[in-house]
């Protein structure tokens, strides 16, 4: 009996202690007419060897393509030590640290995580993680509304330069609470928030979301945007890429006061792409908002001998205490990913993270240089970007992506599908991180040229 350690003798003893004849009898409070007739459609159990073989085959079935897609999920080098340590049984198989004294490992790691996220974002305090960046942004919106109860509206200004999938997720999460998301258009020439249109906003709003870098890889003018929103009496939610923060100003220092809430996806910090999850949303805020933060928070305290230690704190915000009045319903979060992120930042250090960021920028510029000479490709937003950029193609973007896939390349993201009405015809979003070598970039450019040539019948 896989995973069941009972011997038949033990089973007999246990049944006799309970005073029943069979295990079946233990289910006698379930009305018989409800009892299930088995699990026929579930396959029979397999040995670990069989499952290993099957899964190994499935994992290899699609090859290991060269990946130039980003758009919220980024391929970075993951130091080997990280997952070796994070998957140690003591981290991997522990529950939420309800018994603090028996969980100092996890608790200290999360306290360190909070400190690192606060440092990275330039904010005062961070929580212990949210599910992912997209749902985290949803939580940030809810939080801004909660924190701003006196506000005259529940309107959020949401730039179109925020990933459209993120916007969809936020919509799903906040729509039952009378919150409206008003989309702010982007400037067709440089791919950033259209400041003129933004400033035309006359109705009151609760908060402005500012992505940095934005979905197109372009850098928003975060200082003036932050100051403008604050002048309107609104809050600012900074949506940031944590690797970019090694080089770009921290949201805590945007404008004169800094943002109120910083949120984002920490996947780039040591977490594999893994088809989109498990990732980890991070969220940090100003000290004065700490009681509005959703999710777990770890605090440092002392034990009865005065020795320093850690425990979950401010639990009165949470669902298990506050129930229907909680700041959020989140319970299980992404603890193991917080551990991973902490390990990544500890191993890389300030220097390491800066170098990763710089290498992304350099490689991206290098690929842009290569593509500049490609016939038919244009750069609708120019080329001042972090590690992603948009090109428009002289051929059907979906066909290009498919043809590149044939050559074992994930070419990027078809963003035409999201911005069809914005004139971004056949636009492709391309990402280059430190993982790409000069040869990889040359291979990408050559293949793309070839593919376009084939698709356009050499018209380019």
């Amino acid at each position: 009996m896989p995973y069941i350690p009972h011997t038949s003798q033990e089973i007999a003893e246990m049944l006799s202690v309970i005073g029943v004849d069979s295990i079946e009898q233990l289910f006698n409070e379930i009305p018989p007419e409800l009892r299930s007739d088995g699990l026929d459609k579930i396959p029979s159990s397999r040995s670990e060897m069989q499952v290993q073989r099957l899964l190994t085959e499935k994992s290899m079935q699609d090859g290991t393509p060269l990946c130039f897609a980003g758009g919220g999920a980024y391929e970075h080098h993951i130091p080997a030590a990280i997952w070796e340590i994070a998957t140690r049984g003591e981290f991997y198989s522990a529950y939420t640290p309800y018994q603090a004294e028996a969980s100092q490992g996890t608790l200290q790691v999360i306290y360190e995580f909070q400190t690192m996220i606060a440092s990275l974002t330039g904010m005062d305090v961070s929580n212990a993680s949210l599910y992912d960046g997209a749902s985290g942004l949803g939580e940030a919106v809810l939080m801004s509304v909660r924190a701003n109860r006196k506000a005259k509206s529940k309107r959020i200004l949401m730039p179109a330069t925020v990933s459209s999938v993120y916007r969809q997720v936020v919509e799903t999460i906040v729509k039952h609470q009378d919150i409206t998301l008003d989309i702010i258009d982007f400037d067709r020439t440089n791919g950033t928030i259209d400041i003129c249109k933004l400033k035309q906003q006359s109705e009151p709003f609760v908060a402005l979301v500012i992505p940095q870098p934005n979905y197109f890889g372009c850098m928003e003018d975060v200082h003036s945007l932050t100051d403008w929103a604050h002048e309107q009496g609104a809050m600012v939610i900074g949506l940031v890429n944590p690797v970019a923060l090694a080089l770009l100003e921290a949201p805590g220092n945007w404008g004169t006061q800094g943002v109120d809430i910083a949120v984002g996806e920490a996947q780039p910090l040591g977490i594999p792409l893994s088809s989109g999850g498990p990732y980890i949303g991070f969220m940090a805020c100003k000290q004065k908002l700490v009681r509005q933060l959703p999710g777990r928070i770890v605090g440092r305290t002392v034990d009865l001998e005065g020795k320093s230690g850690f425990s979950l704190t401010l639990q009165a915000r949470e669902q298990h205490i506050r129930r229907s009045k909680a700041t959020s319903n989140i319970c299980t979060n992404q603890g193991l990913m917080a551990t991973t992120t902490t390990l990544y930042l500890a191993f890389m250090g300030r220097d390491g993270l800066q170098k990763v960021a710089a290498s992304c920028v350099q490689n991206t510029q290098a690929l842009i240089e290569l593509l500049k000479t490609s016939p038919g490709i244009s750069f609708p937003f120019g080329t001042s970007v972090f590690h992603e950029f948009v090109i428009t193609l002289p051929a059907d973007v979906e066909q290009v992506i498919e043809a590149m896939a044939e050559e074992d390349i994930v070419a990027g993201i078809n963003i035409f599908q999201y911005y069809a009405q914005d004139g971004l015809e056949n636009a492709l979003l391309i990402c280059v991180t430190e993982t790409k070598s000069t040869e990889d970039m040359a291979f990408f450019a050559d293949t793309l040229n070839k593919v376009i040539n084939d698709l356009t019948g050499g018209a380019q």
């Binding site: 490992g105 080089l247 425990s311």
Partner: protein, 498 residues
Amino acid sequence: MTQLNEAVIEDKLIFEASDFTRKSSSLAPDIDVDTVAKSLPEHLLRKSDLQLPQVGELQVVRHYTSLSQKNFSIDTHFYPLGSCTMKYNPRACNTLAQLPGFAGRHPMAHSSMSQGIMSCLYDLQNMLMEATGMKQVSLTPMAGAQGEFAGVAMIRAYHDHNKDDARTEIIVPDAAHGTNPATAVMCGYKVKELSTNDQGDVDIEALKAMIGPQTAGIMLTNPSTLGVFERKIKQIADMIHEVGGLLYYDGANLNAILGKVKPGDMGFDVIHMNLHKTFSTPHGGGGPGAGPVGVSGRLQPFLPVPMVALKDGQYYWLTEDELSLSIGHLSAWMGNAGILLRAYIYALLLGREGMQRVAEFATLNANYLLQRFADAGFEIAFPERRASHEFILTLRKEAKQYGTNAMDFAKRLLDYGFHAPTTYFPLLVPECFLMEPTETEAKTDLDGFVKAMELILEEAKESPEVLKQAPYTLPVRRLDDVKAARELDLNYYQSHAE
């Protein structure tokens, strides 16, 4: 004599070992940062200090390896945390899910390059449908609470779709997990709390009194968090359906009934599952989880996207393009895909036979433990009921007689090498221990646990102070939670600025 001199190196924070002038890593690319930074817009560059630790690699390894040893975990301890289902986590689930072909796949990779993982998810959808008796499953919610959100949002979408907008209330039993009422509120509902009778069943009369055209639905878990099976479930379902409401099943306790009774057969319209419980994906010190939802036919149009579908032998993503009534996306892509993969692997390993055994032995272990505790003189909260996969013990007698409350027992258990059960939940049982041994614990460990509790009971009688000061053998003694909340220290650099 045995004391150590005070100078023994205290465990530090990683920040205390940091020195910004240290450059020791082999992990970063070799590049001149300043030159590259010049190519970015000057006014957007980081001017503020980046306070990340600079520590040698060996020192980082040591720091976190040593920290890990300060945790209790299922790999090291019996961990009968009620409602949390801390069961054996086969290592193959992790190693296989981390295979490069899975770990390296970008979520936006073309579906022609993703058939391997998609076939796994598709199979998992099907297995979960069979296990729960529901019509269709969407895997995307990232934990139980998000599954609840998806479920209640579907209930709302259903009523909205029917223009039935008088339904403003969700009924939640007083014993329910906190996520239930919190979720109902996030979906814009008012919460009506339903009381429980002294047998742990829902108070049917009270229920009768509160339902009506205003009722959007009810959230139940069965067996409930009181560790007993709600015997009148069919009657409840009929009552709710009669008034036009829907039934939500909180699947956190699915371990108790896997293969024995299916939520679909009990009359539920929508359920979530906690794969990190029943399907043994790692709890990871707080997550990640996975909270797939399953629905009956009438809620099918509203399922969250994406899901995986199969056409002409090719798997593809089912999105709002085809499911126009979907409540939408809950995550940027496919939720915690890597966790779903682990659950799939576990399901393959268990197979049909193994799943049947889950509920059987989880129930056997719980009922055995219950009886042993009853025999040892502890008070059982619902002594006339069968335990499901978990049960409740109340220590109110001990609290009164010896002044040792449930928390004191819990802390002392740690000294004996056992993680404590869930304490003070459900809220309606005073000084309670919610105990869930799970099916993967051996009888000898259960016996050891009972023995420890007996010894602690002795200690409580003879020297209650021993309990009140526990634990003694852990990295720290009892921690001051009040100070933690009053004098907030959540960020090293902020609290230790100087």
